[in-house]
Every structure is written in C-alpha cells, then in structure tokens.
C-alpha cells in the first residue's frame, strides 16, 4: 500500500518525488517541494547585501527570482494556483509590500502549501507583517525597538549600544528533532528586534534570546533597562509557525543576520581573548532549509497490519476477530536536503500506535524493527481487545519542527463465530465435567438395562403388594 506523504500535496509533487528518488545520483541537490522562490526586495541593487545567502539557495537547486516591491505585476497566484513555492520577504525601506503581499494573500499562499520566510529589521516593520504576526499570535515590538545584551555582545564592531547580540546555537533536547543546533561554541550575530510568542500550539521558537537580553526603544536613550519591552528567554530572535497543512512561516527579527556583512564578520565576546567567525552562514542556511522543506519532512511509505501468528495471513485485511494477535508496521522516511533517509525517533521521544474506538483502547510504543537505506520500519504486536466494533489503527505523531504524521486506518473487529470457540476437550479444566456427563450417561444406560432385566421380579413384587 503506497501512501502519499501529505494529503494536500499535489500529484505533481509525487511525480517529481519519483524522479528525485530515481535519479538521486545524478541530481546533486533537489528541494522536495519544488524550487520556485520569490525573493521580494525593495531595490534589485539591495540584493548585493544578501548575495551569499541567495547564492547558497541557488546552489542547492532553488530557482530564486528577485522581484521589486514596486513591481505592478507581482503576484503570488495565477488562475487560483500559486506561482511560487516559497517566498522570502526582505524588509522594505519605506512603505509596505504592496497589494500583492497582504496578510490575507500570504495566508492564502500558505493554505496552498507555500512557505514564507520573513526577515524584519527594527526600523521598518510594515503594517502588513504586523497584521500577519497578529494572526499568528506573534508579538512584534513597536518601531525602533532593538534587542541588546550587555553580557553577550560583539566587542569587535565596537558599538556602544551593544546591539550586535551574540547568541549560541539552540540547545539540543533529547526529545525534540532539532535541525538548528550545530557546534555548541558557534556564535550567531544578531542585530535587530526580538519578538514574543503567544500560546498558539503551532508556534515554535528557533532561536531564543539569552537570559540577559532585553528590548528597548532605541530612540529614547534613557529608557534602557527601566522599561524593557521584552526581556530574557521570553524574547525570541527567530521563530516559526508550521500550519496544519505543514506549510511553514518563519519570522526572523534581523535581516542583517542574513547579510554578507554578518556572514563574514569576526566577532568577539566580552571577556574573550580572540575573535571568531560567526556561524551565521550555516545557521541561516539551516533556517532557510527548514523553512523551504529541505529538512523535517516526514513521509509514511507504507502501513501494514496482519495477523501475527499466521505465516500467510493477508496484509491489511478489513476485519479482525476479538483476541486476535495483530502486528502493525509503519515505514517512515525523512527528507534530508536531497534524499530520503530513515526516520529516527529522538531518544527522549516515543512513536506510538493507538487502537481506538472513540477512545484509545491501547496505546503501544512502536519500536524500530529494521532499517533500509530509505526508511525505518517501526513495528509492534498486540492482542486485539475483547470488544467488537469498528476500530482504527492510528499513528498520531505531531512534534515541533517536523511535518505532522497522523495516519488512521479503520478495521472491523468481530466477535467469535460459533465454531471458533475452543472445544471443551482442548481445555484441561473441563475434563472433570466431561467425565461427569460420561459417568451420568453410562450410569443411565446401566440403570436402563438393569431396569428392563429386573422386570419380572418387579412384577412379582407388585402382585404381592396388590394381594
């Protein structure tokens, strides 16, 4: 049984996928979801600032098209279909993004599966982006609020404001898929505004500010630490929302982070003796790769369930009987930049199978049974509960940073047929009562024989009595 990775993916994608799999040795790199990238920038000449980042994207097989905000014909859709697969929004200098990039348009774009990477800078956060952020439950600071950190700033750029904040790579949790943690001594230079996240379950932080960072109004010199807009780890530098259809919107608080200047910058922490190169290039590549679906895409290759004890049992039958022993298998792949690799569940996490009828009757862990070059097979065996009805095998694995896995296959569970119960002589406990019946019947036969044999005597006795 072949399954589509995501229900909303077009057949075109599957077709492309097929070729990706087939010619993976010839194609050096190919993004999974296809490669048409729209980069919206104020002036074409500004793109020189981000040349390394854009060149990196092109090098990985993306077809990046730079478009000016002012261009009239700029559109995300044509005939109701999206004409781009991914959008990068560089911060505009003065006004907004124009009529083609309203929040409604951008959300419509994500509904069709498009990914959006939004870069902002403190001096120009257009109203359109603020509105979009409000919809996503992301809190953006007012204009000209910047993030500073007086303990982790860059001493080389010699800014008295301490506004080039140096952040470490995100920490790795054993329970979470993490695509953004490189070497732990990497430093990421950041100059811009932080933001805060609401309680939306689809929001995930990517790069969080350190405990000593805070944001304040840079136009008010004396505001400093007295009235911070956000402080400590409540402030995020980079965060993302993965919608229910797996489309991704990533919001970056600093456009400078992606610039050539920061890619090549040598930074030095206060107290440190030597300067080191920033890890911005690698980190920004990771952010873009994740946002544009090069990483964190999980695919279900196949699902199989069958009777455990029968060697030639049919696969994926529609019906089981209560108390059957059943084995369930699921093959999972993960896309890694240019090919499918076996999906691994993090050590602190667990992939589970639910056997549900309204409520889960069982929730059992799926364990890796075998690994092929392209997928891992997770499997589990269990006994179907003593309850008939329509059940569903369900794998509901929704974790941050990876596409959602929610597979549900219903089967009918019937009760025993009348000839499927164990025969009484197969149960040793019943032997006593079988013997009871046998003895009763044997005794009865003996009794009948004696009764008939003793007839004359009985008649004689009867005669005597009547006399």
């Amino acid at each position: 049984m072949r399954l589509q990775p995501q229900s909303d993916m077009a057949s075109r994608t599957v077709f492309l996928l097929f070729f990706v799999n087939l010619f993976v040795s010839w194609v050096s790199a190919a993004p999974l979801t296809s490669e048409r990238v729209l980069a919206v920038i104020e002036e074409q000449s500004d793109s020189a600032k981000y040349s390394q980042f854009l060149a990196g994207l092109k090098g990985r097989g993306f077809d990046v098209k730079l478009e000016s905000v002012k261009k009239d014909t700029l559109a995300l859709f044509k005939h109701g279909e999206k004409v781009w697969d991914h959008v990068i929004l560089f911060p505009p200098k003065f006004k907004g993004y124009g009529p083609a990039l309203t929040p409604q348009q951008l959300l419509e774009f994500t509904k069709l599966g498009g990914n959006v990477l939004i870069l902002t800078s403190p001096s120009s956060i257009p109203e359109q982006i603020r509105e979009l952020a409000r919809e996503l439950d992301i809190g953006l600071p007012p204009k000209d609020y910047i993030a500073v950190d007086h303990f982790n700033y860059d001493t080389v750029s010699n800014s008295e404001k301490h506004d080039v904040v140096l952040a470490n790579r995100p920490a790795v949790s054993p329970a979470v898929h993490n695509y953004f943690s490189g070497k732990q001594d990497d430093l990421i230079a950041f100059r811009g505004a932080g933001h805060t996240l609401g309680n939306g379950p689809l929001l995930v932080p990517i790069l969080t500010a350190s405990r000593t960072a805070y944001a304040y109004d840079s136009k008010e010199d004396f505001a400093y630490a007295q009235d911070p807009w956000a402080a400590g780890t409540q402030m995020q530098f980079v965060s993302a929302m993965q919608a229910r259809n797996n489309a991704r919107i990533t919001l970056v608080g600093s456009a400078d982070m992606f610039s050539d200047e920061f890619f090549d910058m040598k930074v030095q922490k206060p107290g440190s003796t030597e300067s080191q190169k920033t890890a911005n290039k690698e980190f920004c590549k990771d952010v873009a790769a994740w946002t544009f679906g090069e990483k964190g895409i999980v695919k279900v290759n196949a699902i199989r369930h069958y009777l455990s004890n029968e060697p030639n049992a049919p696969v994926n039958p529609n019906m089981y009987r209560v108390k059957n022993d059943v084995t369930f298998e699921i093959e999972l792949s993960e896309y890694d930049v240019d090919r499918w690799v076996p999906f691994k569940v993090p050590s602190g996490d667990s992939l589970q199978l639910e056997f549900t009828m309204l409520d889960p009757y069982y929730r059992v862990p799926l364990l890796p049974a075998s690994t092929s070059p392209n997928y891992t097979t997770y499997t589990t065996s269990f006994k179907i509960p003593d309850q008939h009805g329509v059940f569903a095998f369900r794998v509901n694995y929704k974790r941050p940073y990876i596409t959602y896995v929610d597979e549900k296959y219903s089967v009918t569970v019937r009760h025993f047929a009348h000839d499927e119960y164990t025969r009484s002589w197969d149960i040793s406990g019943a032997w006593v009562w079988i013997a009871g019946i046998a003895v009763t019947i044997t005794g009865w036969i003996g009794f009948c024989a004696l009764w008939l044999w003793s007839a004359p005597a009985a008649a004689r006795v009867g005669l005597k009595k009547t006399e």
């Binding site: 149960i427 406990g429 009871g436 019946i437 009794f447 004696l450 006795v461």
Partner: protein, 143 residues
C-alpha cells in the same frame, strides 16, 4: 456408645413391640426411642417391603448425588473455568436426578392411585425419552 446401647435396648424392649406392630408387621423387637433401632427398623422395612425396581432407582439416585457432589466440589476447589462445561456436567447429573425421581414417583406401586392413567411401562418410556433429550442437550452445551 456400646454401654448406652445395651442399657437402652434392655429397658425399652416391651414398649417397642406394641408400637411397631401396628405400623409394620415385622417380628423386629426394636424400641421406638432407640435411634439405632429405628434406623434398623427403617432399613429392615425398606429392604422387605420396597419393590426391587424402586430399590434400583434409589441406588441410581444415590450414585447421581455422589457424582453431582464431586463435580460441584471440583468447581469450588479448582474454579469454574470453563463455566459452560461445569454447567453442562452438573446439569446432566441434576437433570438425570430429577427425571429418575419422577420415574420413581410414577412407577412406585404405592403411588398407583395418584397416577392411575400412567402404567409403569409408559413412565419408563417417558423417562428414557426425556433422558435422551437431556443427554443430547448437555453434550451439545459442553461444546
């Protein structure tokens, strides 16, 4: 026990003869207040005045009681799994007991006045028919 028995048997000998002669024409001279004598009297009366077929029925009934008690005791001790097997085995014994008791009532010459229309042959035929049905039911039910 032995001294008491001797004592009572010697003391109440004359009274016993008077009371027992009216009920049963036995030459036994047991006392009515002596439990063993009464028991002996009953057994004696039973062995002499009960028809042989009725004695046969009583023996079979006794056999069924023993079988039933054994099965029930096993159920109490070893548990009732599989329960339908227990039901089938125990019901076979109890049902057979009930049918045999019915046969005893209908075939006993002492009850002839109550079952005037039922001859002993007819009663036996009914008994065989019902017993066969019972056995079929039980062997099916035990699966």
């Amino acid at each position: 026990m032995p001294p008491k028995k001797n004592l009572s048997s010697t003391q109440t000998a004359p009274a016993a003869a008077a009371s027992t002669t009216s009920a049963t024409p036995t030459p036994h001279n047991a006392s009515p207040s002596d439990p063993l004598s009464i028991l002996g009297g009953i057994l004696n009366t039973y062995s002499q005045s009960t028809p042989q077929r009725t004695k046969l029925i009583d023996a079979f009934l006794g056999f069924l009681v023993v079988t039933g008690v054994l099965q029930f005791a096993y159920c109490v001790v070893a548990g009732n799994y599989p329960f339908n097997a227990f039901l089938a085995g125990f019901c076979a014994t109890v049902g057979q007991f009930v049918l045999t008791a019915s046969l005893r009532m209908q075939s006993d010459p002492a009850n002839k006045s109550e079952f005037a229309s039922v001859s002993p042959e007819r009663a036996f035929a009914d008994f065989v028919f019902c017993s066969v049905i019972l056995h079929l039911f039980c062997t099916n039910f035990i699966n």
